[in-house]
Symmetry: D2
Subunit: 345 residues, 4 copies
């Protein structure tokens, strides 16, 4: 068994353990924590009773040297850089579920995360961990920057169309709706049940940190700086992100080419399901699973393209994708431990 460690004790850490409990080649041998040192993970997360009796250890990355071949960093941004440096130096591969290695441009990191990046030289080395786009690079990577939950849902439907010149690289709108677990497990007023339940609101309008991450990847795909706006909304549900992406068909392009391009690109991807014409995704259909469903609508008159994607923010949007990256980095079948259906209803 390959040995893995986890630094962090929030929802994504628990989701990693849930998934890896079904992995027959990798075993979690250590969980580092700041707030739950000395408590067993199945006390912190009783749903894991019978699946993980590890006691949380102090959050010192040195503790993992010699014990793990790969470590998942499930930490707030800003904390991963030095830890990753230490681990990589000791030959331990890293999958960072946080935001520290996603933006290639350290000045954007400074602007949006209000922090000076402590090791900008690593940004080149880090591979953006979106397997359906960067699979080969991930296979050879020591450090994967696991994408944000919103970027995963926005980038995957749009990249093929931008790469193929099917949609215009300007005027795009990405209107995303997320469940509450994306905001983490810490008690905050904004996550208070009564402040979320029976309502919907937008937040971070024009300023959300996932905006530049999406723009970066769409611009890489388009080969030029794209123009798009991203607006996240908070929905009264635990899990799930629905991304409604609006774009304009490029000139002289047939409406049918939208669906054709997506089917070409993703037809053999296990985790991407292009829904049949007339069917639009529901986040419930991917609940607790690693799938990303995409629905396609093109208005023949106006040339408006509407792509809607659904994913589970803790699975394909975080820990499931992290395991997918891990499998690639360790030379294991990419789908291992991830081939389960969503829980419905």
């Amino acid at each position: 068994m390959i040995k893995a460690g986890i630094i962090g004790d929030g929802y994504t850490a628990a989701e990693l353990i849930r998934i890896l409990a079904g992995h027959d080649e990798v075993e979690v041998v250590s969980v580092l924590s700041t707030e739950n040192v000395g408590r067993r993970m199945d006390q912190v997360f009783p749903h894991l009773t019978g699946f993980c009796s590890l006691e949380c250890e102090e959050s010192l990355p040195e503790k993992l040297i010699g014990r793990c071949q790969l470590v998942f960093l499930a930490l707030p941004h800003g904390l991963s850089v030095n830890i990753a440096l230490t681990l990589l130096k000791n030959g331990i591969k890293c999958v960072d579920l946080g935001a520290d290695f996603r933006l290639k441009d350290a000045s954007l990191y400074r602007e949006y995360y209000e922090l000076e990046h402590q090791a900008p030289q690593m940004l080149e080395q880090a591979v953006y961990g979106l397997p359906e786009i960067y699979r080969d690079k991930i296979r050879n990577a020591d450090l994967a920057a696991n994408p944000g939950c919103f970027p995963t849902g926005a980038i995957l439907p749009l990249v093929p169309l931008l790469k193929e010149g099917i949609i215009k690289p300007e005027g795009m709108v990405i209107d995303a709706k997320t469940g509450v677990s994306g905001a983490g497990r810490t008690a905050k007023f904004a996550s208070h049940f009564c402040e979320v339940n029976e309502g919907i609101k937008a937040y971070g309008v024009g300023t959300h940190r996932h905006g530049p991450e999406i723009r970066q990847e769409l611009s890489f795909a388009a080969g030029m700086m794209v123009d798009m706006i991203f607006t996240p909304h908070l929905v009264p549900m635990n899990r799930g992100i629905l991304s409604t992406c609006y774009a304009q068909l490029a000139a002289h392009v047939s409406p049918d080419s939208v669906r054709e391009a997506l089917e070409d690109w993703y037809g053999k991807e296990y985790f991407i399901r292009i829904l049949p014409p007339g069917t639009m995704p529901h986040t419930k259909w991917v609940y607790g699973s690693n799938f990303l469903d995409i629905g396609v609508y093109t208005d023949p008159r106006s040339g408006r393209v509407v792509l809607i994607s659904a994913l589970d923010n803790l699975t394909k949007g975080a820990s499931g994708q992290a395991v997918q990256n891990m499998n690639l980095m360790l030379g294991i079948d990419e789908k291992k431990a991830l081939m389960f259906a969503g829980v419905h209803p």
Copy 2:
């Protein structure tokens, strides 16, 4: 007391009764029904116990002649036309909460509602019942077409900006999110708790019937046919609509003019609350009330305008607005019986 009747026994009928219970000049004297004839309204809707002990009568509009001065039609589309004809002929004013008199163009009605309109000559006579836009016409109307719930949330923020030429009349996106009560009280698979709870989906993409209604009013405001796309989403909550409206600042227009125009137009409107800079609306803040809250964001670089509105689909989006129309049509203070705060949390 002025006497009013209600035809229909769904959620909007119950909401009319809840609101009118607090009205000291108008009294509901009759409720006509198709499915609950002979049952008392407080048996059908136990929350009305103590507020309405009327027995539902058969749905024959003749029954109301001589008993009512105004009737609310809370019926599925297609059923109101002949009823309204009968009532109007007998000097009874009508507020139609359905869709039969909203579209001025009978061919659009045919296309979207798949019905031949039975009295297209009435379409001119009917006044679109959005008091903040058509107040004077409503005061003199015998027949008010109460707007759809989505149109109310989309039209009110955008009309001033189109009228003043502040935003471009093309490339608009209206991404709306609604609670489930908008789909009515009848048991349907799409309203099944387990099919809605813990998930979000889009529906009617490119084809929803409120699309042409929004387009009509925005085009009137712009003085030309506008280009916009409207996408509704179903959110796991009972009440509320959040409409995220995207537009492009017109050339040579200052970003500040967006907020200024809205404050100019709506500064004295009791039911419209323009939120301060940096605050975006939450449907929870208008829950059970007749308010429509609007938040404003303009991106100075890209000139992208994001207007977000929140309303309660059963109140400002239906029965509250119907009472507002009724008050105007009967020469009563427009706010009468509607000046209550939302229920929070």
Copy 3:
């Protein structure tokens, strides 16, 4: 206008303002706060925009002397005693929505609230503010101890039956289910959306502080110490308490006498609605209103009595009842500002 003050800025304070906005004899002139000093109440609670623009003042009760005739104390337990002393000394009546004056036995207070009561002599003076039981005393009271939300739901159905000897004073089970707003507005892990949504749990089993309060009032009614167990549960909803109360018919008592006694006692009570045979209450039917609905079932074979009550924990379970008490204490019609229907659905 009579002037009232509020000390506290949580959900019950906001609910007081919502209700009193519709009161034409009483006006809220001041809100004292610890955490929101200097902020306007409609900034703290945007649903109150247009209803309360008072700025929160520092939480010094002296500020209210000479400005108010009555003050609502909406504070965590332990904080009200000295404040009430000061206000009463200055001729200001008090309604305490907290727990400091509910238990008549200071040793129970010490045991359950882990605090020495600072003015046990006031416990005799304070009137338990359950108008349907103690109306006359409340009319003459300067200090009303507004009941807990669970006690309101458990005491009202059971008291008549205990007073009349219809049920046995032992072996009672009160299984209660509450919405999350009962836990207050402060961000806590237990109120985190994701920890509540899509699940149900019991809490405080055998130890909840409302247990001795219920036992006190049931024992007063029975004229002897009763034996009962109370178990609260947390339900994924904002508002509402359903109390399922199990008791045993006393010997030689007809099953019909259960309903008869309740109808006799409460037939003329505006806020108590005894539901017809075969109908059991739903918390949705009282949502946002001051009603308490009671459903009755008696098993003829086993003599088991099941009484189920529903109330809104923030209205009849807190602020609505507080206004009811205020009305009585000020000689105003008890129902003033409280005669509105619940919001459904």
Copy 4:
């Protein structure tokens, strides 16, 4: 691979397929349906896309002869009897997820299900499919009557205590709270989102069909007719049942013996988790899994025992337990395909 069939196309059928997708010794080869004949299961249930592309066949049990070794009957009560007769005659084992073979007394079946049982002689042959109680019998059974969801949650905690004489066989109260999926997938008013969300109610008070089933098994355990009352409540959540069971300690029995007995009985059971002292179960911890968690509280003064159990009504309360029974009946490891953790949050 052993071949299995499913008759039915509701939530429990879909859950069977979800679970069996992870089974490496059993394969679902046919799904019979009444309403979805000709549609693929992954069209009816898009979350199963990639997991089951079987087309629903007409609901004729003969279709399964020669194709299956075991069939799951996931049908409304009354429909399984003749089908099971046919299948058994042809050497096909059956697990009935419905209610037709649960009650040993055909007169109770008549009373509660308002149907004459068509093959009462089979009631003796059918084994009540609660593996933790009847494991050996199930191993040898051809026909397993999968228990109701509520009975599973009530029987498992109480049986050991009744068998050992630790609690009294009278005065028991079982107050249960269920998610909505227990009511099935068919659109019904009682399952309408708006009628369930933001509220809680009791239903079937004193008359629910799971009452006699619970009473039967508790009476078998006690060796005498027990006295208990069962009240189910509907909670706004998709999945989960919490059963709060109240009983009285028998005379001369130590409070500690309650926990001891449960730990003795269930210490080696994989799917039953006795929670540590002070911890009470949350349905969220078993969401989507086959576990049943039990929390224990005994009041030393009054001798009142409170046992609280949590399960997922579609898994341990239906399809998970059915697969557990299938495994036993086919001589496969009982836990096969069921060893996954719950999905949290």
